[in-house]
């Protein structure tokens, strides 16, 4: 589904991704963790090419992303992306936020798209907030609308870039619940997060990044119980004791 072959990326002189090799299969849930600045956000932003990279190959659902001549609009419609800061459109209601892309990208009729949007909002537990503007919603609710917005396109892959990092602690649970449900339904997911509970519960694989490299990868149980590298052990002890 997603295949990185020796991907390298530089921001100016800074080498942010170093020879990334990674293969994510359909239906797999992968959690990416690591210290800040390790390149994990950049990694998943490459998957729908919000970031370009300079060297290597990346295939997503068969589409070559290293070939800059491919038109990505179609592929991007198949990939949901959830941001740390939600990035809802503040001038639209929750419903309009969710229905916008189905109407304009999928060319659905307005009524059909709104029915679909209602269904997706219901799925994230916000059926009653359809007419609310983002400013009237809590952070957790906004993030769930953002997830519904991604789901409305019936994506093959959902990417999450630290979806709970900007939330108050008591709101993290409601967002994670939605994500757990999604994972259990077989969605292919790449999640950058430090929520180790989530990783333990649903991840098939945990990837640990440091300084732009994939340092360690393993199933969550082994990774947390006995990490293979010092760097990962250090990181785990830090996040578990805070």
């Amino acid at each position: 589904m997603i295949k990185f072959n020796g991907v390298n990326k530089w921001f100016g002189k800074l080498h942010v991704l170093k020879d990334i090799d990674l293969h994510v299969t359909s239906g797999e849930v992968v959690v990416v963790c690591g210290p800040s600045g390790s390149g994990k956000s950049t990694l998943i932003r490459c998957i729908n090419r919000l970031e370009k990279f300079q060297k290597g190959e990346l295939f997503v659902d068969g589409t070559p992303l290293h070939d800059y001549s491919t038109n990505l609009t179609k592929l991007r419609a198949e990939i949901g992306f959830v941001f740390q800061q939600f990035h809802l459109y503040p001038h639209m209601t929750a419903l309009q936020n969710v229905a916008l892309a189905p109407i304009n990208v999928r060319k659905m009729k307005r009524a059909d798209a709104e029915a679909l949007a209602h269904e997706k909002l219901d799925r994230v537990g916000l059926a009653d907030k359809a007419d609310a503007h983002p400013t009237q919603l809590s952070g957790g609710q906004q993030q769930r609308v953002a997830i519904a917005r991604g789901l409305a396109m019936s994506p093959k892959i959902m990417l999450f870039d630290e979806p709970t990092s900007a939330l108050d602690p008591e709101m993290i649970g409601e967002v994670l619940d939605v994500m757990v449900k999604l994972a259990s339904e077989g969605m292919t997911m790449c999640v950058v997060t430090h929520e180790m509970g989530f990783a333990r519960q649903v991840a098939h694989r945990v990837i640990f990044m440091d300084e732009g490299s994939l340092v360690e990868t393993g199933n969550p149980h082994d990774f947390f119980a006995n990490p293979q590298t010092d760097r990962a052990a250090q990181f785990i002890s830090k996040i578990l004791t805070h």
Binding site: N48, L50, T73, K74, R76, A77, E78, I79, G80, F81, F83, Q85, H87, L88, Y89, P90, H91, L100, A101, N104, V105, P134, T135, A146, R149, G150, M153
Partner: protein, 222 residues
């Protein structure tokens, strides 16, 4: 203070003032409309991915903003005929006001567009919206909210700037004041009345600007 003031003359010249007021109004409306087109075009050029288009837009915007309007008016007034273009004063004046306000409007519109957080644009990209759809549904509706009040401010500036057209003998409000001064030698009466009319126009536009500010800026809370 007003004891020597000759209201009778003002009254006598009232039809003349009305004509000037009407012309100022028409010049301003037409120039503003054209300036909006010029400004939006220049702004699109300024944000264009092509370097040469961007360069052209920057040259236009900066050269207008760095020179006095009066110089621009004279430049067109004396310059166009030497290029073999015989354009009447009124049209020359409107072109000058259009080019001048257009440059400022380009910057106002650009500020509005860049005020939309980049993350929202990325959200649009991620859901497969193309460039025009992102403009239409995400950027423009929000940019409009923050753009309209300063645009009305620019409209006020434009109305006042149109007074400079009197110097190339376009018959507008200020020109009427000058005429009254030279025919009857009553500069206080003349320019008191002229100022009063500008104040009226200003008051209407200012009320509109304040109202739009209240109506449109509420979205900014994000």
């Amino acid at each position: 203070m007003l004891e020597g003031f000759n209201f009778r003359v003002i009254w006598e010249y009232m039809p003349f003032f009305m004509e000037g007021l009407r012309n100022t109004f028409l010049i301003s409306i037409v120039s503003l409309f054209l300036a909006l087109i010029a400004g939006i075009t220049a702004c699109a050029g300024r944000l264009s991915p092509w370097k040469s288009v961007r360069g052209l837009a920057i040259v236009y915007i900066e050269s207008i903003r760095s020179t006095p309007l009066l110089v621009q008016i004279y430049f067109l007034y004396f310059g166009l005929p030497t290029l073999g273009l015989r354009v009447p004063e009124l049209q020359t004046g409107i072109i000058a006001l259009m080019l001048n306000s257009g440059a400022y409007i380009a910057e106002i519109v650009r500020a509005g567009m860049t005020s939309v957080p980049n993350g929202q644009i990325e959200a649009g990209i991620s859901s497969g919206l193309n460039y025009f759809q992102r403009m239409r549904f995400i950027i423009l509706p929000q940019a409009l909210g923050v753009t309209v009040p300063p645009l009305l401010g620019q409209a006020i500036v434009l109305v006042k700037d149109s007074a400079l057209l009197s110097l190339i003998s376009v018959l507008e409000l200020t020109r009427v004041g000058q005429t009254l001064t030279s025919e009857r030698f009553m500069p206080s009466e003349a320019f008191f009345t002229v100022a009063f009319f500008y104040l009226c126009i200003y008051f209407v536009l200012k009320t509109l600007a304040d109202w739009s500010q209240k109506k449109l800026i509420f979205r900014e809370a994000y």
